[in-house]
């Protein structure tokens, strides 16, 4: 018990430190400077779009992985793991070679006056790559925990597959999906390694912290760290609480 408490406090150490080192005046002066809140808006917007992309693109993939409908399932899983294991900085470097201005993709979107380096699009791409594997693996586990016999029973009671998905699969997987989204959101908010290479501009919060640290020092970077926590944490916490309650209800 005491040991567990100690470990818990040590793990929470950075958060506790942050709270003890912040003064109200420092927060106020940092956040009221002209343009100080721009990174917050950039992060929230890009994070929201990242989440939407993951939801639309990766949810079906996770479902197929969980149901084993894909041939050679191990190879598919290995691919997802591969992107999880790549260091973010390396992802950033490779993305330059993949979607940079002198690549086929870069030239293609160039026709539409778009660019995938140092733009909002680049930021979203980097965040998607950093957070997608966490979402896919979490969502796969969430779908995998749904008993296929319940889906079968729903079909026998007259529901076509799309209705089974909506009335049984999705509600049963929802707590796990919410947790996967929360983790992906936190990853996207904190994405730095890939972002610093491919999307130095526009500044999201992590880069804001980094540049502030570089230019004006520790003390002025801390308030942005708090802002990052404040926008990155509520969603995961809410998802955690909601999913715990949903599971509690099911246990009766």
């Amino acid at each position: 018990m005491a040991g567990a408490l100690l470990i818990w406090i040590v793990l929470l150490g950075p958060v506790i430190t942050l709270l003890t080192h912040l003064s109200g005046s420092a927060i106020a002066s940092s956040l009221t400077a002209p343009g100080a809140l721009d990174p917050l808006i950039v992060s929230a917007e890009s994070g929201g779009i990242t989440l939407a992309v993951l939801l639309l693109v990766c949810t079906p993939l996770a479902w197929m992985l969980a149901r084993g409908t894909l041939p050679f399932p191990r190879i598919w899983e290995a691919g997802v793991l591969c992107s999880l294991l790549l260091p973010p900085l390396v992802i950033g470097l490779l993305l330059i070679f993949m979607v940079g201005p002198y690549t086929p993709f870069g030239e293609l979107i160039g026709h539409f006056n778009l660019s995938a380096t140092n733009t909002f699009l680049a930021l979203v791409i980097a965040q998607v790559y950093e957070s997608a594997p966490y979402y896919v693996l979490g969502a796969q586990a969430a779908f995998g925990a749904v008993d296929p016999r319940l889906e079968q029973q729903a079909a026998l009671l007259g529901d076509r597959p799309s209705r089974v998905f909506r009335r049984v699969t999705l509600p049963l997987a929802a707590p796990g999906l919410a947790m996967a989204m929360a983790v992906a959101w936190a990853r996207a908010m904190g994405a730095f390694g890939a972002v610093v290479v491919i999307a130095y501009h526009p500044f999201g919060l992590p880069l804001q912290i980094w540049t502030t640290l570089q230019t004006t020092g520790l003390a002025s970077a801390l308030p942005f760290a708090l802002v990052l926590l404040v926008i990155a944490l509520p969603l995961p916490l809410a998802a955690y609480i909601w999913s715990a309650r949903a599971q509690g209800r099911r246990r009766g």
Partner: protein, 341 residues
């Protein structure tokens, strides 16, 4: 009328089965684990695609592999399937589970009446996790009945429950099937469960239907030695005398009386190898020359110098190929002597 005449390829064997169940009738598929019983139910429910054959329900072709091929998807078959796991949706209350099928009005009188008939009317607001196993099965049954399924398939639904609960739930299903007039098929690997439920019984072994008949007939007149083994015959004794000489008599432990009564069947005399209480009577292992049988007797057997004589009443006889040798043997034909001292 539910009719199925199908072949389903499985890894170990091909299931070949033909069944016909009239509305309100109850058929039991009886056989050991892995005989293909569940596969047949799943083919009827539309969860498994047969390699060949047709399935029709109330005149509608559900599956046909003959051109024009038909395969009605599971969700529009209106075939109810109950398994050992009641399969209640854990995120829905009992009421919402009962009203899952779209045709059901969650607040309507039909749901309330059925819930009362099933004894679950006090549980409508509860979540499934709070219910006992028997209550969950009642809800699952109610959910199927409210969905107006046109056939009821039961895959050993109550095999995990205790005997009293199993009996009451089986009686409930029987009453509901009679009330609704739907054909019902039960899969069972316990003979007593199959007999308690069914009008007719089909014996299935390794994908082959060995015999179809009344629940008493299959036990009293097994069509082959294999059927006899499956329905509980525990000894097979070569007959040495009389018109049946050369055949083998199947000895069912429950169809044996103490003493020699050649007019009623085959007289067996052997050494009492073991004797133990069984239910309200006694179970004895008897060692004959070259054969061993187990018999259940009302009274504790009294041996005569270690020897015990019993009469197997009207035993089925099997030829060397294992097929039943005679459809029935009149009790007054001379009893075939058995290995006798």
């Amino acid at each position: 009328m539910l009719k199925a005449d199908v072949e389903v390829d499985r890894r170990e064997f091909t299931l070949r089965a033909t069944i016909e169940v009239a509305p309100g009738q109850r058929l039991a598929l009886f056989g050991p684990s892995g005989a293909g019983k569940t596969t047949l139910l799943e083919a009827i429910a539309g969860l498994v695609q047969p390699a060949r054959g047709t399935i029709t329900l109330a005149g509608q072709v559900l599956t046909s592999t003959v051109r024009p091929a038909v395969s009605v998807p599971a969700w529009s078959r209106q075939v109810g399937l109950l398994r050992q796991d009641p399969g209640l949706f854990p995120h829905l209350s009992v009421r919402d589970n009962l009203a899952y099928a779209r045709s059901v009005d969650p607040a309507g009188p039909e749901l309330a009446e059925l819930a009362a008939a099933l004894g679950i009317d006090g549980l409508l607001k509860a979540m499934p996790a709070r219910l006992s196993g028997g209550q969950q099965h009642r809800v699952a049954l109610g959910r199927l009945l409210l969905a107006r399924c046109r056939a009821l398939l039961l895959d050993e639904p109550y095999s995990g429950l205790d005997a009293a609960l199993r009996r009451s739930l089986t009686a409930l299903v029987v009453a509901m099937v009679a009330d609704r007039g739907v054909p019902a098929v039960l899969v069972a690997h316990e003979l007593a469960d199959a007999q308690a439920f069914a009008h007719r019984m089909a014996v299935l072994d390794r994908g082959t239907m060995l015999q179809v008949g009344g629940p008493d007939e299959v036990v009293r007149r097994p069509a082959s030695r294999r059927v006899a083994e499956l329905v509980g015959y525990l000894g097979f004794v070569p007959v040495t005398e009389g018109p049946a000489a050369g055949l083998t008599a199947g000895i069912h432990p429950d169809r044996v009386v103490t003493g020699a009564d050649a007019a009623r069947g085959v007289v067996l005399t052997g050494t009492l190898a073991a004797c133990r209480p069984s239910g309200a009577g006694w179970e004895a292992d008897l060692a004959l020359d070259g054969a061993a049988v187990t018999v259940r007797l009302a009274e504790r057997p009294v041996t005569d110098g270690g020897q015990l004589t019993v009469t197997a009443t009207d035993p089925p006889l099997f030829g060397p190929d294992g097929a039943a040798a005679a459809p029935g043997r009149a009790p007054d034909t001379p009893a075939a002597g058995s290995p006798s001292p």
